[in-house]
Symmetry: C2
Subunit: 216 residues, 2 copies
């Protein structure tokens, strides 16, 4: 044990890989594959078998010598580690193109991510239902979160509006923010912020193109 509550420190590098393991195992499970060894999986995923074993062993011994890993069991265990063995209540702030698209994204409910409402200031949007999700006024955000025990808030608003919303989220009991605004911020009280900076991802692609072999 590495700390007094028995939790080992897990690096960001490992956390970043966990959902990918989960995805591959889900596909194997869907194909009816029962067991897989770290070296078979390493070929599929294009990583080293050693890394797979190291990663998994941070969370427990999920395999069996001479056998490998049971696909369904490992899939379920990683699901538990990722916290997607139980549903998550989510709301989206910003009912623009991106907020609406995310709120209607078919894949999320599959993993227990349930988006219950969107919030916006545009009177033309308030009261409407977009992709099955009702749009409410931002003034009701705090109340709604507390009444419905919302756990995660998706921020799909311009960075200029983000600061104020972040203020309003303090003390509401939310556990995490999924941030699409083009800005960084920290939340007090152990609220987790996960950033998705789409422009930056596109810039990395641009960088790789500009610096790939052809022009080297």
């Amino acid at each position: 044990m590495d700390s007094k509550n028995g939790k080992k420190y897990i690096s960001q590098a490992i956390i970043r890989r966990l959902p990918r393991y989960y995805r591959y195992l889900g596909e194997l499970k869907a194909e009816g594959v029962e067991r897989i060894s770290s070296s078979e999986l390493s070929i599929l995923m294009n990583v080293t078998a050693s890394q797979i074993r190291q990663d998994l062993n941070n969370f427990g011994g999920f395999g069996q010598q001479g056998y490998g890993y049971n696909v369904e069991y490992l899939y379920d265990e990683i699901g538990k580690i990722l916290g997607i063995d139980r549903p998550h209540k989510i709301v989206t702030v910003g009912a623009g193109n991106l907020g609406s698209a995310l709120s209607g994204y078919q894949n999320f409910p599959r993993y227990g991510f349930n988006i219950l409402a969107m919030f916006d200031n545009d009177p033309a949007k308030i009261g409407t239902v977009i992709h099955g999700v009702p749009v409410l006024p931002v003034s009701e955000l705090r109340d709604y979160i507390q009444k419905n025990e919302i756990e995660i808030v998706i921020l799909a608003i311009p960075k200029e509006e983000a600061r104020q919303i972040i203020q309003e989220l303090n003390g509401t009991g939310i556990r995490g923010v999924w941030n699409f605004a083009h800005t960084d911020f920290e939340m007090p009280g152990g609220i987790i912020v996960e950033n998705v900076h789409l422009s930056e991802s596109l810039m990395r692609l641009s960088y790789e193109i500009a610096n790939s072999g052809d022009f080297g």
Copy 2:
């Protein structure tokens, strides 16, 4: 020089940070800040000054001893490194919620990312214009790319449909794929693939919530 064409190897860790430097410098520039030292910037960005200097020096000596860095100059230089000193022609495959949202995203043209068309198989969508972007049939994808010298393709389709589209992109002359499909793939001929796996990002948030202090 580290290779015969004079290009130094740049690690993914550094590339990941470049757009963030660009963003902070853009904000400083907008605020009218003329010069900044690595230690001032390090406080703003919550990284070490040493890392900033190391990162930048991979691309050249942009600073001046005793002075620091000229904000506008450094901003422009990083823009060049990122390849956003010139426009990029882009099309989106998939005119669903996400594809439409991305195609209408206001921030992209600002950086020279111009989305010229969307492609879809849905007859109800073909011929329409969504957020100012025309929707064309997928059967015209290859032709359109070649005639218009499209450089980047955004994949906003389910993974089941991705394989076939990837096939069709071969030999069209595109340089990169921005992939939102829930699958990994490689492209031949040095075509760059940048993945944005939204579900995986949300799972990482879920992981952090499930394993944060409160439940430790």
